[in-house]
């Protein structure tokens, strides 16, 4: 005898999910507060496996949250702060209405606020977790720090973002962890290797923003609120790892050097300090004053192939870090000072700029020891003979190539070679731009000039042959016969090779015939994807944006449902 009839949708996946509206009601929050809470706590909708089951048989489009997530939000102390704030706003409005100005003042003084420290700790239980997730925070803070103070967001937020980004840049300079840079049409991409994590961020060009109307700045501000908190803690910890003082202070030596004569005219001391920091031209103060950073040698373990590789890698890394060491740069006023100073300092160069451009320039144009001057104009009037005048792309390309590229291609007024993305890693079969091939050859140590020379020599030889032909035909005939023989041999060997290749191809074809149906299907699909990418690479001369051909990684977190 069966027991009670089981009701539908009372167990299983239907009870694991909750719609957004229900969640909101459960939390007793307005939609805006719910959104804020979700952003701060990092709660996102989940896509159920069986949407219809979860949706109780309906197929209406709904967003679902995990019920566990929402239950977890119920205990969040910040929800109470939200309610307090709501009450505060109500009281304030009332006080305004009654024109109780003292009451307004009192209320304003006791405005409820909240801290996000515990949320950060909870979301990122370990430091590495936090560091792994800092890409978006960096890009966002860099964007906010370029905003004008015109009321799109709080001025405090902007200054805080600026301060944090300056701290970050100083950290990257101090730790010399910058790896790749890329000038895109959107902005400048940087990639740094911080404590083993690859961190990429995008900095917009220094222009005033044309604020779009269809962007909800409240959402962005909430994100920024969370990101600044996270970013500050990360900065603190990073500074600690390098034994640097946090908040950053300039080295006392550097500080005295930077003490310009007319500093009083420039700005207030408190304001100019951040700018001095952002100039990036001086080193930072350390907690424990060490003479020089001692090189940390890798401990020697019993001989191991792995070890050698690691040593080599580390050596390469060190070489890259010292890429510009000993070079002295001067930035002209038309180049983006901050990014170039940042990059050059990351690789150990000395940088300066015109005094009127920014605070913190350490030497003048007239300095005779300058080796490179970075100029972004067609021509310059007064040129010094003992320095290179190069365009800014040289710096970026050199960093990506991990070597100082020949400066000839980057002189003033010269058409620049294409600037390639260092983030593209071509798999075999992908299209590789010829410039990259050239660069790779250069990195291997071949000089393309040499190859050209050889070619020229060959040409000359041929010319000589032609001349000789007229002189004595008989010898030439012998020569040609020998040549023919050689050619035939070559052809034969080539034929052998081709035969082998054909054999292999046929073997493969036959093996493919023996595949199981399921595997054959999968194989065909993969091969189709590959072929399509190569075809598109050939026709649309690009393949980098559809490099995903189905089988990529073991576990992929997915975006579903593009909603905008």
């Amino acid at each position: 005898m069966g027991g009670l009839q089981k009701k539908k949708y009372e167990r299983g996946s239907a009870t694991n999910y909750i719609t957004r509206n229900k969640a909101r009601k459960k939390l007793q929050l307005s939609l805006a507060d719910f959104r804020r809470l979700c952003i701060l706590k990092g709660i996102y909708p989940h896509e159920p496996k069986h949407k219809k089951k979860v949706n109780k048989g309906s197929t209406a489009p709904r967003t679902f949250y995990l019920l566990k997530d929402i239950r977890f939000l119920l205990h969040e102390p910040i929800v109470r702060k939200f309610r307090e704030y709501k009450v505060f706003v109500r009281k304030l409005r009332k006080a305004y209405g009654k024109a109780e100005w003292t009451g307004v003042e009192r209320l304003r003084d006791n405005k409820p606020g909240y801290k996000l420290d515990h949320i950060i700790k909870e979301r990122y239980p370990t430091f590495i977790d936090a560091l792994r997730d800092i890409d978006d925070a960096l890009s966002m803070c860099f964007l906010f720090s370029t905003f004008a103070r015109t009321g799109k967001c709080h001025v405090q937020t902007i200054t805080l973002c600026r301060r944090l980004t300056v701290e970050w840049m100083n950290y990257v300079v101090a730790s010399r962890s910058l790896q790749k840079v890329f000038i895109s049409i959107k902005g400048i991409y940087y990639q740094a290797d911080v404590l083993g994590q690859l961190i990429t961020w995008l900095v917009p060009y220094q222009f005033a923003h044309d604020h779009p109307t269809d962007v909800d700045y409240r959402v962005m501000a909430t994100f920024t609120e969370m990101y600044t908190t996270l970013f500050g803690f990360i900065n603190f910890r990073l500074y600690q790892t390098l034994n640097l003082v946090y908040p950053p202070k300039l080295d006392s030596k550097a500080e005295s050097e930077l003490k310009a004569e007319h500093e009083e005219d420039y700005a207030m001391d408190s304001e100019s300090y951040l700018e001095k920091l952002s100039a990036l031209s001086a080193s930072l103060a350390r907690v424990v004053a060490t003479a020089e950073e001692e090189e940390n040698q890798l401990d020697q373990f019993p001989a191991d192939g792995n070890m050698e590789a690691r040593e080599k890698e580390q050596k390469e890394q060190e070489d890259q870090n010292r890429l510009f060491e000993g070079l002295k740069f001067f930035l002209n006023r038309e180049v983006p000072r901050e990014s170039l100073a940042f990059i050059l300092r990351c690789f150990g160069a000395e940088v300066s700029w015109d005094k009127s451009l920014c605070i913190g320039g350490t030497y003048d144009v007239t300095d005779e020891t300058i080796t490179h001057q970075i100029v972004d104009r067609p021509d310059i009037d007064k040129q010094y003979i003992n320095r290179y005048y190069i365009q800014p792309q040289w710096v970026f390309d050199s960093v990506n190539a991990k070597m100082c590229l020949p400066v000839e291609d980057y002189f003033l007024g010269v058409t620049l070679p294409p600037h390639l993305s260092p983030f593209v890693e071509e798999k075999d079969g992908d299209y590789v731009p010829p410039e990259k091939l050239k660069l790779m050859a250069l990195q291997r140590g071949e000089k393309h000039g040499k190859i050209q020379e050889e070619e020229e020599e060959e040409d000359e030889d041929e010319d000589d042959d032609d001349d000789e032909e007229e002189d004595n035909d008989e010898e030439d005939e012998d020569l040609t016969e020998e040549k023919n023989l050689k050619k035939m041999e070559d052809q034969r060997s080539q034929g052998k090779v081709r035969l082998e290749q054909e054999e292999k191809a046929e073997e493969k074809r036959l093996a493919i015939m023996m595949m199981k149906k399921k595997e054959k299907y999968l194989y065909d699909k993969i091969m189709f994807g590959k072929k399509r990418t190569t075809r598109e690479g050939r026709t649309a001369h690009n393949n980098s944006w559809n490099g995903v051909n189905g089988m990529v990684s073991n576990v992929v977190s997915m975006w579903l449902m593009p909603f905008h």
């Binding site: 950060i120 239980p125 890409d135 990429t200 365009q391 593209v424 993969i526 590959k530 909603f563």
Partner: protein
């Protein structure tokens, strides 16, 4: 209040507010007239209105004059009399003439209320000019009069009022004292505390000072981290290689596409130098969209296998190691004029017989490709089969409803003569049993041609098969309706049996077991195996094919392959199961013939795609080891005619050679 539109000199209009109580229209004259005025020509006129001989005032007030449109009058004068409209309104022509002739036209305004033209006096024109210049209307008004202070700035020694001060103004307030003392008391008691200075800048500290790996919540295991932003490719560069830039057409396509359909969210651009790079207009948008993605986009964990396609390809032994097998086409036997339906090799391997739709049977010498004999038969030859017994030289040929036993008289003469003897030595039994076919001995010219026995069947015969010993012969007459589909003939006794009482479907082909008394019958979808001694069904094989075309039995007898019209080849291991051990889908089109080699572990299949595929099919004596099947060669050579390619394949009995006959009327030998 009204607004005047005046044409200044010659070019532009200017709006000037004038505080008249009625609306005037000052008609504008040409520049010439202005000049005249400036010269003071019209000053001679007295400062009077043009038509102010009678002072007409309309008393209707400030109402729209359209209200009087349909009336003869336009309002009322001071006496309450109607003011009538002029008899005739000025039309365009009048206006024009007036403009041309009247020197005062430029200073004439039309008064709508009285429907009369008024000529402005010089003072009025002056007033208009002054107002246009933003000056005061009154000429005599001095706007820069010396200022006079209301109050003197000198401190006076005497008070302004002489009232004595209140007492409360110099006695401390009691109420205030009370309040202050209360506050003081509250401060003393610690009820009121000084307000803490607000922290504006956030305080940072080492948040992860005590990292506790156990503090990781269960939630984090469910966490689906958001994918990072995609890294930029070459096309995003400010100075990309030229091949990454869009052509004109591609750019147009890009612009017409919806934002979601675009492969690239931006247009690649090339800038000659860093200085020329503009701001990216969608920067904030993109960041905002990323924010939306982070908190609004549903996430799901999906498992994806990371498969290297090369790993999917099964690791098979190399064909090179499985030699010998036929690799190249070495001979083409030409002579037939129509499709060659069937071929069969003699047991010695010296001869080959072929039957074709051109009503002939041809005998070939295998090594030379020479046609030794051609026999005309009275119909399209459906099937030929050489007697597998090397001591007998007989060939079974079927066409229409006849099965013909031929003695080709090729090869060893002893064998030929013994065969003839075998046939003639037949003694008819005493009691003549009724048989399904009639056996007839050929004589005369037919005997000379090689005909020995003629078996006339009641229906068209499709296939003939010999038993391994060479005495029994089976013929197939496909017919779904009757049980008379398969007949087994015994040549030595000239006897015919119908082994089946019931039809089990359309028989496609039959075969004898090479060693044991089993008989294989392939119907459309199944292969049935009968025990001929026990007269019972032993096995029924499900081929999973739609329509079987051909069948071949491994010389060991435990394996069987079936070709089907739906491009499949099924390998059965009879010890293993009644389901196929392997299904091979090597051919692109319908299979027509399959064959096993007698000695070598080889089998071949021919199909309509014109190819013969030779596979290595190793059967092991060890029962635990499954057969190894490896395709070793795809042989091509036959032309496809009328959508038919290879019609029959057969192996050479001793050599690793394969013959194939095709619809292009040729037979080919692959060695």
């Amino acid at each position: 209040m009204c607004v005047l539109f005046l044409r200044q000199r010659n070019v532009f209009f200017q709006t000037v507010p004038i505080w008249f109580n009625k609306s005037y229209r000052l008609r504008t004259g040409t520049a010439r007239k202005w000049d005249k005025y400036d010269e003071g020509e019209s000053v001679s006129r007295p400062g009077k209105l043009y038509s102010t001989a009678i002072d007409i005032r309309n008393t209707v007030g400030n109402v729209p004059m359209e209200w009087y449109q349909d009336y003869p009058h336009i309002g009322y004068n001071l006496d309450g009399k109607k003011i009538f409209k002029p008899i005739r309104n000025k039309d365009e022509l009048d206006e024009f003439l007036d403009k041309m002739e009247n020197p005062d036209y430029w200073r004439t305004v039309h008064d709508k209320t009285t429907a009369s033209d008024i000529r402005l006096t010089d003072e009025q024109v002056d007033l208009v000019h002054r107002l246009q210049k933003g000056q005061f209307g009154d000429v005599n008004f001095n706007e820069y009069e010396p200022s006079v202070d209301f109050f003197t700035n000198e401190v006076m020694i005497h008070p302004v009022t002489n009232r004595p001060q209140d007492k409360r103004s110099f006695i401390p307030s009691l109420i205030e004292k009370e309040k202050v003392s209360k506050l003081v008391h509250a401060i003393k008691m610690g009820w009121i505390k000084p307000r803490k200075p607000k922290e504006t800048t956030p305080q940072y500290y080492d948040l992860w000072a005590k990292e506790d790996p156990n503090a990781i919540l269960g939630r984090h295991k469910m966490h689906v981290p958001a994918p990072k932003m995609r890294l930029p490719g070459h096309e995003e560069s400010y100075n990309p290689p030229p091949e990454y830039l869009l052509t004109e057409e591609e750019r147009l396509v890009w612009e017409q596409q919806d934002a979601e359909d675009r492969k690239l969210p931006f247009l690649p651009q090339k800038h000659s130098c860093l200085r020329a790079v503009p701001a990216f207009s969608r920067f904030i948008h993109e960041r905002f969209e990323r924010c939306l993605d982070l908190y609004l986009c549903p996430r799901q964990r999906k498992m994806r296998v990371n498969v290297n396609p090369e790993d999917l390809i099964p690791k098979l032994p190399k064909p090179k190691d499985l030699q010998p097998f036929p690799t190249t086409m070495s001979l083409v036997y030409r002579g037939h004029t129509s499709l060659v339906r069937s071929i069969s090799a003699s047991p010695t391997g010296q001869w080959l017989v072929s039957g074709s739709d051109d009503f002939t049977v041809r005998f070939w010498e295998v090594n030379t490709g020479r046609c030794m004999k051609t026999l005309e038969v009275g119909g399209a030859v459906k099937s030929v089969a050489w007697n597998p017994n090397p001591a007998v030289c007989l060939v079974a040929v079927c066409f229409e409803s006849t099965v013909l036993l031929l003695n080709p008289s090729l090869g060893d003469r002893l064998v030929v003569s013994s065969t003839d003897q075998l046939i003639t030595s037949y003694e008819p039994p005493e009691e003549d049993k009724e048989q399904a076919v009639t056996w007839a001995l050929s004589e005369g010219p037919e005997h000379n041609k090689g005909h020995r026995l003629t078996l006339t069947h009641p229906k068209a015969v499709k296939q003939v098969v010999w038993h391994g010993k060479g005495d029994y012969l089976s013929s197939v007459m496909p017919d779904n309706s009757s049980n008379l589909q398969v007949l087994i003939h015994q040549v030595s006794k000239r006897r015919t049996q119908n082994p089946f009482r019931k039809s089990k479907g359309l028989v496609q082909c039959v075969s004898f077991h090479p060693l044991r008394p089993y008989f294989f019958v392939a119907t459309q979808r199944y292969v049935r195996i009968y025990n001929l001694i026990k007269q019972e069904l032993t096995k029924k094989l499900m081929t999973n094919c739609k329509w079987i075309s051909s069948m071949a039995i491994h010389p060991g007898g435990d394996n069987l392959i079936c070709g089907s019209y739906d491009c499949r080849l099924a390998w059965f291991d009879l010890d293993l199961s009644t389901k196929p051990y392997k299904m091979l889908r090597h051919h692109k089109k319908a299979l027509r013939g399959v064959a096993f080699h007698r000695n070598y572990p080889l089998f071949a299949s021919g199909a309509d795609d014109g190819s013969v595929i030779v596979c290595h099919g190793m059967v092991y004596n060890d029962l635990l080891q499954n057969p190894l099947i490896v395709p070793v060669k795809v042989l091509k050579g036959h032309q496809i005619t009328h959508d038919l390619g290879v019609l029959d394949v057969t192996f050479h009995p001793t050599q690793p050679w394969v013959f194939s006959s095709g619809a292009d009327a040729t037979i080919r030998l692959f060695t």
